[in-house]
């Protein structure tokens, strides 16, 4: 595959580099050990380039371009930390931070510090939406806010099954779960983006509870969610009790015992309880994706009845 590929030369932050044709600017940056932040990108999913934290400045282009999906072209001259880039990243962080609970998104706080982002300058957060309120919003209509509070997606958790919870107050709409449920992994299409604009949300048909939808509870959406919006019920319960304590946790790699495929599992355990099961995104067998048994079928270890 790669031997027939041409090599492309470009300049990033004043450094010349060459990458195989078809590489993204992100890959080119990674080759130079230049850090480009990402939220909606993942190595095991098709880039949707919606979060825009990865934007870089491309000489000659009218706008900034998303490094995660823009293909490298010969002769490109790219700046990854120009003033324009920094401003856009700062604003993306502020817009996310003021509208979504990003407290569990890894790196968010570090990036906010790095780019001097102050989400609070948009004002105090508006109160949490009532149950069903966000789902009732209709395309083309909204209630004009008075500007006193910053509108946000705070809303009650959706707890409709024993395996995982959906806390969309933490949803940054990165589309990863939709991709994992769709053609990138599961091909089940149980969830999609519904609504429009600020009222867009991840939903099943008619906002039905997951057990009434096409969901097969593979948990692949949970595995890719970057913000903790989708979370193992076990983990969510422990966190809600205020007992989450990483210093008391172990992380163990093992192979799923259920079938012959040989999926690698990573188990996060606290107080003898399995709180989270993942698989490495770069694992040759799973690409990070599992089935319901490998993901959730560990009740017997806990001595629970299945």
């Amino acid at each position: 595959m790669s031997e027939s590929k041409r090599t492309i030369e470009l300049t990033i932050d004043g450094r010349k580099t060459s990458v195989p044709e078809g590489s993204t600017l992100l890959q080119a940056c990674q080759g130079l050990a230049i850090d480009v932040p990402t939220f909606c990108w993942a190595e095991n999913l098709t880039p949707v380039n919606v979060c825009r934290i990865c934007v870089v400045e491309l000489e000659g282009a009218r706008t900034l371009v998303p490094a995660c999906s823009r293909k490298a072209e010969a002769g490109m001259v790219v700046q990854t930390e120009s003033e324009r880039v920094k401003l856009s990243r700062k604003l993306v962080l502020e817009l996310l931070g003021s509208s979504v609970d990003m407290s569990l998104a890894s790196e968010f706080q570090a990036l906010a510090t790095k780019y001097d982002a102050h989400p609070e300058r948009f004002g105090p957060r508006a109160p949490r939406a009532a149950p069903g309120e966000r789902e009732a919003a209709r395309a083309g209509h909204h209630y004009a806010e008075d500007g006193e509070h910053a509108a946000n997606v705070a809303q009650p958790k959706k707890v409709d099954n024993e395996l995982f919870v959906r806390d969309y107050a933490k949803c940054m709409l990165c589309y990863k779960c939709v991709e994992a449920c769709g053609t990138d992994a599961q091909n089940t299409f149980a969830i999609a983006v519904a609504g429009r604009g600020f009222d867009a949300r991840i939903a099943t048909e008619l906002e039905a509870p997951l057990p009434d939808s096409a969901c097969v509870f593979c948990g692949n959406c949970v595995g890719v969610c970057p913000t903790g919006a989708l979370m193992f019920k076990a983990e969510s319960d422990v966190r809600e009790k205020g007992e989450w304590d990483e210093s008391r946790q172990t992380v163990t790699d093992t192979i799923c015992p259920y079938c012959g495929v040989g999926c690698q599992l990573t188990l996060r355990v606290q107080a003898n309880q399995i709180l989270r099961v993942t698989s490495p995104a770069d694992h040759s067998v799973t690409s990070g994706h599992l089935c319901i048994k490998g993901r959730f079928g560990w009740g017997f270890v806990q001595g629970k009845k299945p």
Binding site: R121, A136, G140, D146, A150, A190, R196, G197, F198
Partner: protein, 622 residues
């Protein structure tokens, strides 16, 4: 695929409406798709009927019921969650039951300057609260919209006849009427299913009448009449020139797109023509939803064959055999005229497998939108035709290479196509006999707001803005113009000191503004700037597809900021707010995926610059 939640049976009316569109379901299939294990091509071919099917339900029963949605999913093999995602994307599709007769009343900028507020108050007094405020009243009752019979609407493309309304009555024979001169009485008449007389409007040319040559002449809406007015001579000429010759002429004319981006049309056609051997498409972008824009509607309603002839020429020049018209859902009269023009053109051999008896194939499908400004953005438009949510994607690749169904596609605005007709028929040199060196030819402008004779005006490029406004009668009562919103809400304000601006692409660019979609919204001192800016901000917030962070959240923050200013509650002082707006604008411009986010702060930011001399916010508080 689990369809459990949508297992409710459709009603007979719903089944019939869908079967009329898709053909009857196979017996005993419970409406499941006839094809099993569809190839990607077959799946794609069915998915493109998703939006037409949802519109069919809306027109038949007035909403998308769970039973109806489930039936559509089974017939088309579309996962219900995705169909729900599509149904909830469009403002004209209701996903909760409501009365069959429903009114959309425009409260956008042009109508607001001509009595929309009073009309909406009257509507509220007679018919109860607007559908969206019904949700607000009882957020705990998520399905509280039920009984509402009307809703406020963004621009309906009838600003020349403001205030405007769109009234739909669902049923076996649905009645859809969009009309200006709207009053409570006229809206109620339409809600009762009665025909409402059209309002009057101006059509005029300052210079040669080219784009409007046939508009206003009823003959042009029949094929024979169109031919008698010189129709189809351009197509004959195209056949003489050959595909390459046509493209050469279009390139030589320096014709650029009238949809807003001003991209050279000849280059676009060349790029598509290069894909020899592939299925290629021509798409006519008739989504015209930029507030203040109505020129394309006039062409589509009054000169439908010209649009078909021009598309055929574009198909011939690019090697495309499939044409698509994506018409905004709020244009029922244009839909009617186009549908009958397509039928007549097919019957006369002007569309089909052998056009004019030659070895040239081209046919046109008419697709209707359902209330989404973003679907005018070219990649969103393609997604919408394909049956997906109207979400734009980053470019490159451009549609000329990867377009409809992944195939090379030339997308052009209605006015661009009609202008190409003149170029091909009369030649590039003749076309350039008026206009400027950088912008040859003529251009349509949509005059609305505080102007004596609102309407569509054709003027040679280079005409001063002030001359155009004067030609349209100036401000009623001889009052002074306080400013113009030029190019649409994605354009900029032009303050009173700059009204001598020459209307050409190069002069606009040099002045830091844009002709955009040809909007000339005229203001006098009766227009309060801040409420207008808030309406513009609300529009972008409503119409953002929601995909990317800068636009999805940035448009909300922008609206909140203006709300604070309107209340005199600037946070940290006006300068801090201005800085915040500037940073928001910069990030939206730089980091948004598409032109909507990139221009969402354009008019608003320009207001602060253009109207600075009038006080901090353009109007002294009285």
């Amino acid at each position: 695929m689990d369809l459990e939640h949508l297992s409710q049976a459709p009603t007979d009316a719903e089944t019939r409406a869908i079967d009329a569109l898709l053909g009857p379901a196979a017996p005993d299939s419970h409406g499941a798709p006839v094809v099993h294990g569809p190839t990607p091509r077959e799946a794609r071919a069915r998915r493109t009927f998703l939006l037409p099917a949802l519109i069919a339900l809306q027109e038949r029963v007035g909403w998308i019921s769970p039973g109806g949605l489930g039936y559509v999913c089974r017939r088309l093999g579309v996962p219900p969650a995705e169909a729900w995602g599509v149904a909830t994307f469009y403002a004209l599709l209701a996903v909760e039951e409501r009365p069959a007769a429903f009114a959309h009343v425009c409260d956008d900028v042009a109508c607001a300057s001509r009595g929309a507020e009073e009309l909406c108050s009257a509507m509220e007094a007679r018919l109860g609260p607007c559908a969206s405020s019904a949700h607000r009243a009882e957020p705990h009752a998520p399905r509280a919209g039920h009984a509402a019979r009307w809703a406020k609407s963004p621009c309906l493309g009838l600003c020349d006849q403001a205030p405007a309304a769109l009234v739909t009555v669902a049923g076996e024979r649905p009645v859809e009427q969009a009309f200006g001169g709207a009053t409570l009485a006229r809206v109620e008449e339409a809600l009762a299913g009665k025909r409402v007389a059209p309002a009057s409007f101006a059509l005029a040319s300052l210079g040669p009448r080219r784009l409007l040559a046939r508009a206003g002449d009823a003959k042009a809406t029949t094929l024979d009449g169109y031919a008698a007015l010189g129709g189809y001579r351009a197509l004959e000429r195209a056949f003489e020139l050959g595909p390459e010759g046509v493209r050469k002429e279009v390139n030589a004319s320096k014709l650029v797109g009238r949809g807003g981006a001003a991209f050279p049309t000849g280059r676009k056609w060349d790029a598509v023509a290069r894909h020899v051997g592939k299925q290629r498409h021509v798409v006519c972008n008739a989504d015209e939803s930029e507030p203040g824009t109505f020129k394309d509607r006039v062409l589509l309603e009054q000169d439908p064959f010209a649009v078909l002839e021009a598309m055929t020429i574009a198909g011939f020049a690019t090697g495309a055999t499939k044409g698509w018209i994506y018409l905004r859902g709020e244009y029922p009269l244009a839909a009617e005229r186009l549908a009958s023009a397509i039928t007549a053109a097919r019957a006369a051999g002007k569309l089909g497998a052998r056009i004019g008896g030659r070895d040239v194939a081209f046919d046109v499908a008419l697709r209707r939108g359902a209330g989404a400004y973003i679907c005018g953005e070219e990649t969103a438009l393609l997604a919408s035709i394909e049956g997906f949510r109207g979400e734009p994607r980053t470019k490159p690749p451009f549609p000329v290479d990867v377009g409809l169904f992944g195939e090379p596609t030339a997308i052009n605005n209605v006015e661009t196509l009609v202008a190409a007709l003149d170029v091909v028929r009369d030649g590039a040199a003749s076309y350039a006999s008026v206009g400027t060196a950088g912008s040859p030819g003529t251009k349509l402008f949509c005059l609305s707001g505080r102007v004596a004779r609102p309407g569509v005006y054709e003027v040679p490029f280079g005409t001063p803005l002030s001359a155009l406004v004067e030609f349209a009668g100036g401000v009623p009562g001889g009052k002074a113009i306080t400013g113009v919103l030029l190019g649409g809400v994605a354009g900029t304000f032009v303050g009173p000191k700059r009204l001598d601006l020459a209307l050409s692409f190069e002069a606009a660019r040099a002045a830091g503004t844009t002709l955009g979609s040809g909007v000339v919204f005229v203001m006098d001192d009766s227009i309060e700037l801040l409420p207008m800016l808030r309406r513009i901000a609300a529009f972008f917030r409503d119409e953002s597809c929601g995909q990317c962070v800068p636009c999805r959240v940035g448009t909300v923050r922008q609206e909140e900021l203006l709300a604070r200013l309107a209340r005199g509650a600037a946070r940290g002082g006006l300068d801090v707010e201005k800085q915040l707006l500037a940073e928001l604008g910069q990030a939206m411009r730089d980091a948004s995926i598409c032109g909507l986010g990139q221009t969402a702060s354009s008019a608003i930011e320009s207001a602060f610059v253009e109207f600075d001399s009038l006080g901090p916010l353009g109007r002294k508080r009285s």
